[in-house]
Amino acid sequence: MVKRYLPIVAFGCAAALLPLVCKDPYYLGILVFIGIYSIATMGLNLLMGYAGQISLGHAAFYALGAYTTGLLTAKYRVPFLPALVAAVIITAAIAYLIGMACLRLRGHYLAVATLAVGEIIFICLNAAVGFTGGPSGLAGIPSIEVGGFSFDSDFKMYYLVWSLFILLFLMTGNIINSRSGRALRSLHSSQTAAAAMGVNVISLKVQVFVLSAVYAALAGVLYGHSVTFISPQVSDLMFSVRLLTMIVVGGMGHLWGGVIGAALLTLLPEALSAFQDYEMVIYGSILLAMVMFLPDGLMGAFENLYKKMVKVVRARGNG
């Protein structure tokens, strides 16, 4: 019990104290982004690491979230909370439809279908100029306001984003350690065996997919309201690839993997000034190198190292 909650409690304390030390708005802004990406990757990680499926349309769900609350609050003056509920319902409904179509088939049809859905949403966001603002984007999204309290600074957004992250992290951790979580893990080793043990494979996979899409939508909502401007670019395939790379770098199937990947790959472009032109080649190479040489990601490598050290220490203790 203590062992399970210790890391996240320690992480929470550190996260709560960090802005008191680091007051630079530039760094605070980056930390907000890391938090947003961590939320988006958490869901995708659940899907990849536990259900063994891959989605290339998470950018589209992210954009759906951002555009739904963005349009409702900026254009139609709907209060934030009902807009948020609408965003979650719309995303979940679309994800459910795609999931039902693809996940009842064996194989990785989901990858291609989500790619297609992402492309369709990208096309629609660009083409529906009167509604979404088209390629020039949607501006003037207000800050998140709940019960009269407005999250109108990076400082307040920081606490909102990371509180939500910790909440979702605890929730996801509980899912993984619950009965359905064990059922999920059983899918990874053998779908047939899992089905024989009475696991409803298809329904479970669809649930995970919908949940992961909702996480992406929540991250999108936070993104839209913190930068106040969104364009169809957020639903671009490259963004899905970026999320995917974060997970692969951090470690598929490790809850902390997404956070580590998100932090590293958000800081990387800040550190390299000539990043823009080389972005695609760099992301592609990182992705390729990781899956070829370190398929379990950094978390997997740490775990292996830790196990080896424990072994060495024990062997010495015995000898």
């Binding site: 891959i54 693809c102 990785h108 049809y109 790619l115 096309i123 395939l237 695609m280 070829m292």
Partner: protein, 297 residues
């Protein structure tokens, strides 16, 4: 323009685009049959074909036929090198990893093309002039006939290869059962290499033929690849004849959709077809339902 000539016009435009989708779909099927992988880099081979051809003919001043052959050869080698470098070294990788690898490959190809050729759009001279032909009141570019002709040549060569050559038969054996194929002495690893080389080559030929009509730029590959995949799925994944028919069908649908409904949403038509097929009949038009339920990739 009368109604009939308009219909003929849309039909021909559709068949031309459809030929490209058919070739991309064929490329998907060749790799899928040999390895069970969906190659996400398929569309990039089309883009590379067009770009390399532009570079060879415009910058190196090679004549068209020589440029064509050399461009196809270069992309074929690129495809083979990709297999040797990124897929060959792994021992029995799970499908999820293979998908990520081909996706990474596609981004690297795209990014590299952007670094080499920049973000501008390139054109290529038509193979045999731009004097349009007239048929029932519709105008047809000679280049469109080239595209259709190249599709027919590819289909003919593939039919000959798979039915009458030892290597082609070995490849078919691999797609039925790789373990059994290796037991009778077929080098499965070499077949996988060959499949990547072949589908890269076919993609390149499609890209070269297509570039004079639509121009080419570094980020064209993904959408072309996705539409080719629509053709492969609609025809029944792994089914060559199906991919050709479905590719042409999607091209025609898209062309009529552009003409009669809206040009802004034209790219969504093929993708909508893909989603509909997955929902209603995932085995595709020509595939058998039973075979589809056993497939795993």
């Amino acid at each position: 323009m009368s109604d009939l000539s308009q219909i003929v016009q849309f039909f021909f435009t559709g068949i031309t685009i459809g030929s490209i989708y058919a070739m991309v779909g064929l490329g998907f099927n060749i790799i899928y049959n040999a390895t069970g992988i969906i190659n996400f880099a398929q569309g990039e081979f089309v883009m590379l074909g067009g770009m390399v051809m532009v570079w060879l003919t415009a910058s190196c001043n090679l004549p068209l036929p020589l440029g064509f052959m050399l461009a196809v050869l270069i992309v074929t080698i690129t495809g083979a090198a990709f297999e040797r470098f990124a897929i060959y070294p792994l021992k029995k990788p799970p499908a999820l990893i293979l998908i990520i690898i081909t996706l990474a490959g596609s981004i690297i190809f795209k990014g590299a093309a952007m670094l080499v050729w920049g973000k501008q759009t390139y054109s290529l001279p038509h193979f045999s002039g731009e004097e349009p032909l007239h048929l029932l009141g519709a105008t047809i570019l000679p280049q469109a006939l080239w595209v259709i002709g190249i599709l027919m040549a590819v289909v003919g060569l593939l039919a000959f290869f798979f039915n009458f050559t030892m290597l082609g038969k070995a490849m078919r054996a691999c797609s039925v059962n790789p373990v059994a194929a290796s037991l009778v002495g077929i080098n499965v690893k070499r077949i996988v290499l060959l499949s990547f080389a072949m589908s890269a080559g076919i993609g390149a030929a499609a890209g070269i033929a297509f570039t004079p009509i639509v121009l080419m730029e570094f980020d064209r590959g993904a959408l072309l690849g996705l539409k080719g995949f629509c053709a492969a799925v609609l025809g029944g994944l792994g089914n060559g004849t199906g991919a050709v028919i479905a590719g042409l069908l999607i091209g025609v649908l898209e062309s009529f959709g552009t003409g009669y409904i809206s040009s802004e949403y034209k790219d969504a038509i093929a993708l909508g077809v893909l989603l509909a097929v997955l929902l209603v009949r995932p085995s595709g038009l020509m595939g058998s339902r039973e075979a589809a339920s056993l497939k795993e990739f």
